[in-house]
Symmetry: C2
Subunit: 403 residues, 2 copies
């Protein structure tokens, strides 16, 4: 295990293909900024230098790590996950995929199991997910609340998520909880009152973002707007779940509110695409959802050709997408969503960073965090070319090996 | 690293879910023969006992391994791979997926690179693939020749494959090599003369199986029959590549010749399905091929409902399916081929064993090889539920940990 932080200097050399995401670095001018036979110098956990290996600065104090011709990419930035939850829904998944009815499932079962879980149980599970993400090359990840749906439990989830990432999203507006939806319950608007009041107040200190699921069956445009505006007023950045199950107001609302990202984007009108293209809002696509629910895939070509910035994320959650694998998302995006391998690699690194408005991750150029994945492959194309194969051989975060 | 061979006795205990593939073991009577809260006793590399953990035989000489509630399945049996080859075709893959023309690719480029590679180069690559298979829970795998296409090179590939597996398949009839297909070349029938003569003689000593690619653009029914009958006469078992690109004679020929398996089966007539159902020939489906070539998936429901025995395999090869991941094949088979998670797990373990006519692998009951995979998950459903995630935590072969 090599330690590259705290003044330590490391040179990763004999990199067969280096994806920098710095277009200036690529002799072909492609978006991945590829340098062949490259080296990366790391100092104090940051990238100090990148370039052709023979030009690398070497002195006696540098620890040299020979990567044997392997490819190196920026660490994946997974901008959409729901990793704090309790319970297991494998049987529900099996029933759905087998065409059998299953009564006891749904988000309600996860909310019940999450509320019932202790902090330490949730913490242990989160720690296992973080290790799993690192093993697969993910170095930055967002985590949403949304399985607590009470002031106490949402604040608990935000606090636990903040123990493992800076990118915590308050998603009290995930779904209206059962106790509000019962025939004689207080109803959705009363729940939104809670979300924008006491719940937001309890969660904001642990969160960077506010999010709302603006979709039929979840929250209306007006309800979503209340939540997002309240979050913004509390100093949180805005992100939106929208246009997953059909066309709707999610994308429009996200663009209007200057959201960093609108996620899903499976069903888009021409107006939605035009609005995204003229905005700073990233369209974050979640191939694991369509894979795991057998829904149609979004058409990424249409977005990219219109000039929309696209990110890929896992949406890792126990209901609709239980993958945490960015390589898997890349493979599906290339097979079924019309992305080229290069576009998919960019969208899961630089695209994810833009979706989180981060300028310190998602690329490998001097000054950026030394967050990267070493592939057991000669090029990043192998991420799509070798679907399901765990080709991430090493993961480095802040200049240190974490997997 | 635990050594369970050579008289060593090991007890794997605290197995949350044990898939035995022994229908008698399952209280629910399902094909997976599931035992909950189970244990597996291993002696001399074989399964000595399976059952509920509290009933497990324990004494002082047994090394006890607590699996912490994880699921255990029989090691995957991958009955169809092409792992001895040289070269890299990532650029060709990228061009194909991006809709760009690519001139220099195809099987011809792999044949050229394979012929040019030294034994040690091919051996190193093969060793890396074996490690990769083990990491993903595969404990038995077949390897085909077919990128040599000369007497010297086919024999070399068969010999190298035999260094890593007992399941070597002579596939001289993979494709007619370029030098025979040139306008003034000797032609396909002359190549078949070579295959059934000198090439078979050179390869048979290293091989267990003979195979032919019976498809438009490859070998006709008559040519395939010559190859398969010659192989059978030389003592080899029969397997067939067929019905990949359209309906054709492959399945019919396989059943007629008593093949252990006919592989691909993407396009089947009702007569093909009926012939398979009345035979001992396994239909081996290769989801990685359809995934990687964007071809339509075969309809597994139709086969299973007709009583056909179905296996899943990776077809790992650099052209049409460069996955070596049986978990990935399971996830795709469940999503896109109509299999239940249980059927897909069975097909990639017990099904693969039947496709190789092996009675010592593919199930975990007393007397079988102690070949198994420990999953970082509470049930085998997670193989489909968590697509792309490397959930194989440990792999044991002949009672010893190999990954």
């Amino acid at each position: 295990m090599t330690d590259g932080g705290e003044g330590r200097r490391v040179l990763l050399t004999n990199v067969g293909e280096l994806v920098t995401n710095d277009p200036g670095a690529d002799r072909d001018g492609g978006p991945l900024g590829i340098v062949r036979d490259a080296a990366v110098a790391i100092e104090d956990g940051r990238v100090a230098w990148v370039g052709p290996a023979p030009d690398a600065p070497v002195d006696d104090d540098v620890e040299v790590v020979d990567l044997g011709g392997r490819a190196v990419i920026p660490g994946f930035v997974d901008s959409h996950t729901h990793l704090v939850f309790g319970g297991d829904r494998a049987e529900e998944f099996s029933a759905r995929m087998s065409g059998r009815a299953y009564e006891a499932g749904g988000i309600r079962s996860t909310v019940g199991a999450t509320r019932a879980a202790t902090d330490d149980e949730l913490r242990a599970r989160l720690a296992a997910f973080v290790a799993e993400l690192h093993r697969q090359g993910t170095t930055t990840f967002e985590v949403k609340t949304g399985y607590g749906l009470s002031v106490h439990d949402e604040a608990r989830l935000a606090r636990l998520a903040a123990e493992v990432t800076d990118e915590v999203t308050f998603l009290g507006a995930h779904v209206v909880p059962f106790e509000y939806r019962e025939p004689d319950g207080p109803g959705a608007d009363a729940y939104v009152d809670l979300v924008v009041g006491e719940m937001l107040e309890a969660c904001a200190p642990h969160s960077r973002w506010v999010d709302a699921f603006c979709e039929r069956g979840a929250f209306t445009e007006a309800q979503s707007r209340r939540v997002l505006e309240a979050g913004r007023a509390a100093g949180l950045g805005v992100r939106v779940h929208g246009n997953q199950l059909g066309e709707g107001p999610g994308v429009r609302l996200a663009v209007e509110l200057g959201a960093a990202s609108v996620d899903h984007c499976t069903y888009l009108s021409d107006e939605d695409v035009a609005a995204l293209a003229g905005s700073e809002t990233v369209a974050t696509l979640l191939p694991g959802v369509e894979f795991s629910t057998r829904q149609p895939y979004p058409d990424t070509r249409r977005l990219i050709d219109a000039g929309v910035t696209v990110a890929l994320a896992s949406d890792c959650n126990p209901g609709s997408s239980f993958t945490s694998s960015m390589p898997f998302c890349i493979a599906v995006a290339v097979r079924d969503m019309g992305m080229t391998p290069a576009e998919a690699v960019w969208a899961s690194t630089a695209g994810g960073a833009l979706a989180l408005r981060r300028s310190d991750v998602g690329a490998l150029r001097p000054g950026m965090r030394a967050d990267l994945a070493v592939l057991d492959a000669p090029s990043s194309i192998h991420l799509a070319y070798r679907p399901g194969v765990p080709i991430v051989a090493q993961t480095w975060k802040d200049g240190r090996r974490v997997a």
